[in-house]
């Protein structure tokens, strides 16, 4: 319920005369049991109609470990999970979202992947579907025509090739489908559809608030970040549009929080103007304005205090790595001094808790980099001792360390991921050095990250593994209490697929990558250059300090990036 893309597309589709869109979410296993026992199909929430009553079933793919849920939801609705087994136009299965940066592991199950932003392209697809339905086309004719719509990837029209050693060598289209599927974007966000009145749940969900999307894309180019590379080019909304949309949504929903969302909201140029336009309106109504996270080098006490007029929220910074050397490698251009300055300002103004986000397993990482995480945590506590206006209240520094997963479409798409053993070893080391007064250390078992790493850079041979694992009972794999690694291992063995081949292997620049026919706007040359700079320990400037010519500008067709 918290996903912004779903709110936008749900509102947009229902604003179209001929379209009726409902929501459906994967049921928890206890509900699944009841549905299966009662022979009830998985149903849509608005009407209670089974999913099999719908023409098109659309999935948003936000996380690799939700892939088995896609199969399970189709099956619960009585719809064949394999695309080839679904005949005719009924039950067309489409999917979009950030995991389409590499859709190959789901190629056997999805009829059409929509690459990029869905506002325009999905309506073009629906139009075509209406024509096809009216004129009684067969499925193949429809799919071949759909492949001609920019941003529509029809996996059934592409054949992958492997060499004698089983390495992927390329993919060839048929039926006139394009060799490269170029991501779709909305050029002018001020003119784009934005929902006035999203569905407000009556039971608590996460991120239950007005989400005001201030821009798309990110100027930073952190080398590990998939969204930062695949959501380009940078486009801002005007403060006028945002103020109008924020007030309308708050009035219509009754939410008491407006979140200014984007990949890096402190980089939004007219943030002051936007806050000025909203803050008094909000304060009168006990509505708080929130920034999901802030850059330590852009932290402003004045801004933070204005935002907390209604409610004081915690501070979160993401240094991502423990040493300047490694931060240069990953291009997270934040200096330790920036962080200490930001924390000092915050502590002096009454804050007493800070959350710090890191990753371990980054390319070129050494124990010294992990020591740096502990050193910074100590440093922040020291800053608190020197700057706090109220020492008696104490301080809480939380350091969360996630496992780095190399993602397609980033400069690190060629990098080997640390093995589970390496990551566990590093975690044990971290547990030792993070026993620090006033510091909490959070970590997560690397096994889920490992599986994520396999699917993130997988090819079509993983379709069989996903199918097999689902048949064995795997679902909700991203949930620790549901993940059945034993069943996954059986599935990989039964299909003769090696997890390490996908997760832990370094790729050379000469190698063909299974997802390179999906073009998100950033050129291979740019990603390679950024990868080389990473290994030379060289940071790159942000897009505003100097355009690196990543290629995303081309998507604007004569427009200008980041105006």
């Amino acid at each position: 319920m918290s996903h912004l893309g779903m709110k936008i597309l749900y509102g947009l589709y229902n604003s179209i005369d001929y379209c009726w869109c409902e929501r459906c979410f994967a049921p928890w296993p206890d509900m699944e049991e009841e549905l299966r026992a009662a022979h009830l199909p998985l149903y849509a929430l608005e009407s209670g109609d089974g999913l099999d009553a719908f023409d098109i079933i659309a999935f948003t793919l936000q996380y690799e470990l939700s892939f088995t849920n896609v199969l399970n939801m189709l099956d619960l609705a009585g719809i064949p999970v394999r695309a080839a087994e679904r005949e005719g136009l009924r039950h067309l299965v489409i999917a979009g979202g950030c995991c389409t940066a590499n859709p190959e592991p789901l190629a056997d199950f999805v009829d059409v992947f929509v690459i990029g932003e869905g506002e325009e392209v999905s309506l073009e697809l629906f139009d075509l579907y209406r024509t096809a339905k009216r004129e009684n086309w067969d499925k193949h004719r429809f799919l071949a025509a759909a492949a001609q719509i920019g941003g529509c990837y029809v996996p059934a029209l592409y054949t992958p090739h492997y060499d004698k050693d089983g390495n992927f060598t390329g993919i060839t289209p048929s039926d006139g489908a394009p060799a490269r599927i170029v991501k779709r974007i909305v050029k002018d966000l001020d003119k784009a559809y934005y929902p006035d009145c999203p569905v407000v749940p009556s039971t608590e969900v996460v991120h239950d608030r007005v989400m005001l999307e201030v821009m798309r894309g990110c100027i930073r180019g952190c080398r590990f970040c998939q969204a930062g590379h695949t959501f380009r080019p940078i486009r801002e909304k005007s403060p006028e549009t945002l103020i109008r949309q924020g007030i309308t949504q708050a009035e219509n929903t009754g939410y008491d929080e407006i979140s200014l969302t984007s990949l890096s909201t402190t980089d939004y140029r007219k943030l002051d103007e936007l806050c000025d336009g909203l803050i008094d309106w909000c304060a009168k109504r006990h509505i708080s304005l929130a920034l999901p996270s802030q850059r330590a080098d852009k932290f402003s006490v004045e801004l933070a205090q204005r935002l907390e007029k209604v409610r004081r929220t915690g501070l979160t910074f993401a240094p991502e790595a423990g040493t300047q050397r490694l931060r240069d490698v990953i291009n997270k251009n934040i200096r330790e001094e920036d962080l200490y300055n930001a924390c000092g300002l915050a502590f002096a103004n009454g804050w007493n808790s800070v959350k710090l986000y890191y990753m371990m397993g980054l390319p070129t990482e050494t124990l010294e980099d992990l020591d740096g995480i502990a050193k910074i945590a100590r440093g922040v506590v020291d800053v608190w001792r020197k700057t706090s206006d109220n020492r008696a209240r104490g301080v809480r520094v939380t350091a969360s360390v996630a496992c780095f997963v190399p993602k397609p479409g980033t400069p690190f798409q060629w990098e080997p991921m640390d093995t589970v053993e390496q990551l566990r070893e590093k975690q044990e080391y971290m547990k030792g050095i993070m026993r620090i007064k006033n510091v909490d250390f959070n970590w997560h078992d690397p096994i889920t990250s490992h599986l994520e790493g396999v699917f993130a850079r997988g090819d079509r041979r993983l379709c069989a593994v996903i199918y097999d694992a689902w048949r064995r009972g795997c679902r909700f794999d991203g949930w620790d209490d549901q993940l059945r690694m034993d069943l996954w291992q059986e599935a990989f063995e039964a299909c003769g697929v090696d997890m390490a081949y996908y997760a832990n292997r370094a790729r050379s620049f000469d190698e063909a990558l299974p997802w390179e026919h999906i073009y998100n706007g950033v050129t291979r040359e740019h990603l390679m250059m950024e990868n080389l700079r990473a290994h030379s320990g060289l940071a790159s400037e942000d897009c505003r300090a100097g355009c690196a010519g990543c290629g995303a500008l081309e998507l604007l067709e004569g427009g200008i990036c980041d105006v």
Partner: protein
């Protein structure tokens, strides 16, 4: 700022909205209806909304009471229409009045319990005319053996459809009894298991069984 009391129904799928979520549902409905609420003072101000007698999740009710502070000289025109339009299906406000009687005066709540089990209404009437019905009651301090009869008033059972409709008043407020223990007692003493049970709160009463408002 005046304190006002709503009388509302919670029926249908709205029965699955929990007590805490219901407060949020009302807070948002007031905001959508543009009715300004009073807020508590302090570091984390929260809207002054109190639900007088929390209802178990899954129960329906036609007699829920909610107190709120209005941060305006008077209620807007068409207040009930505006608020009901902003509330989710199943929740319907049927009245608004000054809040003058304190919640602690609530002593009983009348329930209609519809249940399907292999037992006759006559057997139930006989069961509830005994001297004592002792069941194991879970409390915050652990389990205790409790005679539930002193906590009940006016037990009646009659056939309805495929099952039995029980009307009973149970203690509510300070020393209370969840009506699920009525079914638990029947299951224990009659050696049966209910295949289906639903609960509807009909009315709330004071000590002398006057309707509480």
């Amino acid at each position: 700022m005046s304190e006002l009391r709503l009388l509302f129904e919670k029926r249908g799928t709205a029965r699955y909205i929990s007590h805490l979520d219901l407060m949020q549902v009302f807070r948002r409905a007031f905001a959508r209806a543009d009715v300004p609420l009073g807020f508590s003072k302090g570091f984390h101000p929260h809207p002054a909304i109190t639900i007088l007698l929390p209802l178990s999740t899954g129960f329906e009710s036609v007699c829920e009471l909610l107190d709120f502070e209005l941060d305006a000289p008077r209620l807007p025109d068409n207040f009930l229409y505006k608020l009901n339009r902003a509330l989710p299906a199943g929740i319907c406000v049927t009245g608004v009045s000054e809040s003058h009687t304190p919640a602690r005066l609530i002593r009983y709540a009348a329930y209609e319990i519809y249940t399907e089990m292999d037992v006759t209404p006559e057997a139930l009437t006989e069961l509830f005319s005994r001297d004592a019905l002792v069941i194991t009651k879970r409390t915050k301090r652990g389990e205790s053996e409790t005679n539930i009869l002193p906590l009940l008033r006016g037990f009646r059972a009659e056939p309805q459809g495929d099952g039995i409709l029980i009307r009973v008043k149970v203690a509510a407020g300070n020393e209370s009894l969840n009506p699920e223990y009525v079914i638990a007692a029947i299951e224990k003493y009659c050696g049966v298991t209910a295949s289906y049970t639903s609960y509807l709160r009909r009315e709330v009463f004071t000590e002398d069984l006057q309707v509480f408002r």
